[in-house]
Subunit: 441 residues, 2 copies
């Protein structure tokens, strides 16, 4: 029996018996207790008496198993497709780009016989779809899991970050992650915080129309994503999508600045409060800013733990203050407020916010305007919120602030340390001057 | 003692004794009980033994008073400034425009001696600030209240709507409402639903910089707002603000399509999923659409009751499903979901949403993309949400959907009737075809 995801011997027998694959969400029942998480791959050098799963909290644990251990697949992840490198000859002299499938429109085709959607993440299909891919990179594709992007959780961010780190350590010159578009901005922000001291580009890519439709944006997006991963010197986490509705150009947006701003258009993704990092036209990559992290031989630092004890709360006129009691009672560690204008909420919420802060939560302010900068010193409301201990979020997106707090409380439980981390620019989420030109409609 | 807000005799004595004015939020303690609300003006033809207040729920009640009645001012509203018509001669042949102050940057100046912000809502000041005002309209200004826009509540929407209706019945050819910018979009949507069969323009106007700063946008915005109110044939509720950062033009945006999209820029207000109704350049009004409600002699229908039992909930990856239990337990009548993409939330929330709907709440779906249209038939997630009873919000803004549900449950408690009202286009909040051109960045 051949090895699968690094598993062999006893471990492989138990996994096969119960029909689970690497990337599946599983429940493991042993004599010592039950464990739930995502089955992770192992090094083939390790023993065959343990399997490794990633828990909700981002920790990996090794579980000792026996022939009697019961492993149950839960959730709806699909098995990783085997690599099909034989389909098209690839030039070994080209840079290696690892393509990781996580689900979404770009990673699926419709089987017109059965009507079912199935993953299309094998290299043969990809290269047939866009032959130019084989001119820019040597591609290895694998499907980590297949999850609708609205079902992505902090634990998935954690698993993707780990997989990216593994591929970079294996020598990938760039990594491309195919992802559903709904929450691609959130995942891009998460990877931006989790993958520090990044030596190569990490490019998230999606499609608004699936690859078997004539109007698909999957082909151009994927080609440009691989191009940026293989060739550009922008060693950052970013999102690559169409720049306009025509197939003329794509933009590569810094992960923490990415927001989906249209439900259906191919140019749905916008860079907020900062220019896109680069434009891609044909096979040319044009950097649009000077201030980015260059490709280098540095060592990646993986910090991929995320907390689930964070909430994002959008303010609106007449909001019920008891929401803050609810959050305080449930022991939330961090709460992102999405206020109005320069960072305001109604004065009828002050008591609730005070109580939430007194319960030990870090409360930060962002603006539902999305564009521009929070400034809580202009009006009395802002100054009162500051005096209560609300931390201003400067020009950060509310969604990025949420992801950042999840990440911060994966790193520390100390409130003062958390506050310091939040106000420190880590991945370009804060910017000294405002990029006014990056706004229009 | 002269009449104040229509009060005289006994009522006026009691109000004066306790130092309260029309527009103040007050507590009235009588032998029969306590009442809290906003003191409303009365017709001078009515008796002097009652005062009228607008309760939280939008109802006006008359309270019989005696010399012993205690009236206490609560909150922070400021007295209405007396009209100062004598300051500048106004031509009686020009159309009457009523200008209602509700607070915000446009209605305030800084007293450079004391540092205090004070309302500047007297006609004399306004006409000195922009002499062209006296060439287009005869203006009557009054301050209804002075509330930071983040403190506006459904009860304020209700009071503003009532005041507008009063002025239209008095013969105003157009109404201008000066409003803080933070929640001006919400109020504009509220007035769009509350003021039906509108015969004249109702123009909300604000400023991003106060009128005593050299960079103020207050002067142009106010002039163009009065121009639209007096001269245009667009009998709709809308918001008038700068079109760009220069002082070249303004746009008049349909109330239900208005969103503040920048924290500080003068061109912060955008029209979402629909073109602006008109552009104003100099003293010329250029309609940008053909499909609008024309000025006419029809009778206004005032439907200004709003419910407080509605919530707006923004989805994010990892959201705690127990928020829906919280909402169900508190008996919310309506909940607007701000989902991702075409109208999705994580499958881990399905049970919670099901329970909320079973508790009797109307749950509607909008998209945090803001632009584009919800379509819940494309992916399995959307179809499951539809099967649970979630009502798709088409191309409505999440904020407008929230205001609409507040308004609907002010009109009816019947769930089926509410559903029917929600899916009916009332004020241009739904649009058959998508206005793709109204999107950019």
């Amino acid at each position: 029996m051949r090895s699968e995801g690094g598993y062999r011997g006893l471990a492989l027998r138990v996994l096969k018996k119960h029909g689970v694959n690497v990337g599946d969400e599983i429940k493991v029942v042993t004599e010592k207790g039950e464990y739930v998480g995502i089955l992770m791959p192992r090094s083939e050098l390790e023993d065959d008496e343990h399997i490794v799963i990633k828990l909700e909290n981002g920790y990996n644990i090794g579980i000792k198993i026996s022939e009697k251990t019961v492993v149950e697949k839960i959730g709806e992840v699909r098995p990783r497709k085997p690599l099909k490198r034989e389909a098209v000859a690839q030039r070994e002299t080209l840079p290696l780009v690892c393509l990781i499938g996580t689900g979404g429109t770009i990673a699926s085709r419709i089987d017109y016989k059965t009507g079912a959607v199935y993953p299309s993440f094998d290299v043969g299909y990809l290269l047939r779809m866009e032959p130019r891919l084989s001119e820019v990179a040597r591609i290895e594709a694998r499907e980590l899991f297949n999850v609708f992007s609205e079902d992505m959780l902090p634990k998935h961010w954690s698993a993707i970050a780990e997989e990216v780190a593994r591929e970079i350590k294996r020598g990938a010159r760039g990594v491309v992650i195919a992802h559903g578009t709904d929450t691609m901005g959130y995942t891009a922000a998460a990877l931006s915080f989790a993958l520090q001291n990044l030596p190569v580009p990490v490019v998230l890519v999606g499609a608004q129309r699936s690859s078997d439709r004539p109007s698909t944006d999957a082909v151009q997006n994927l080609y440009h994503a691989v191009l940026v991963a293989a060739m550009s010197d922008i060693a950052e986490v970013g999102v690559l999508m169409h720049e306009s509705t025509s197939d003329t150009s794509s933009i590569f947006i810094r992960g923490v600045r990415t927001r989906k701003m249209h439900t259906s258009r191919r140019d749905a993704f916008k860079s907020v409060n900062f220019p896109p990092l680069a434009r891609v036209v044909g096979n040319r990559i044009q950097p649009l800013v000077e201030d980015y992290n260059r490709r280098g031989s540095r060592s990646l630092v993986l910090k991929n733990r995320f907390s689930n004890e964070v909430a994002l709360v959008k303010f609106y006129p007449g909001m019920d203050p008891s929401i803050f009691e609810f959050l305080a009672d449930r022991g939330y560690k961090g709460v992102v407020l999405e206020g109005t204008g320069l960072g305001h909420v109604g004065s009828y919420l002050f008591d609730g916010i005070k109580r939430l802060i007194e319960s030990g939560a870090l409360v930060v302010m962002t603006s539902q305007c999305l564009n521009g900068r929070v400034n809580m010193n202009v009006y009395r409301t802002g100054r009162i919120l500051l005096s209560l201990g609300v931390v201003p979020g400067e020009d950060i997106l509310p969604e990025t602030a949420y992801v950042k707090l999840c990440w911060i409380f994966g790193q520390t439980s100390d409130l003062e340390k958390a506050k310091e981390l939040f106000t420190t620019n880590i991945a370009g989420e804060f910017c000294e001057r405002s990029y006014f030109s990056v706004y229009g409609w």
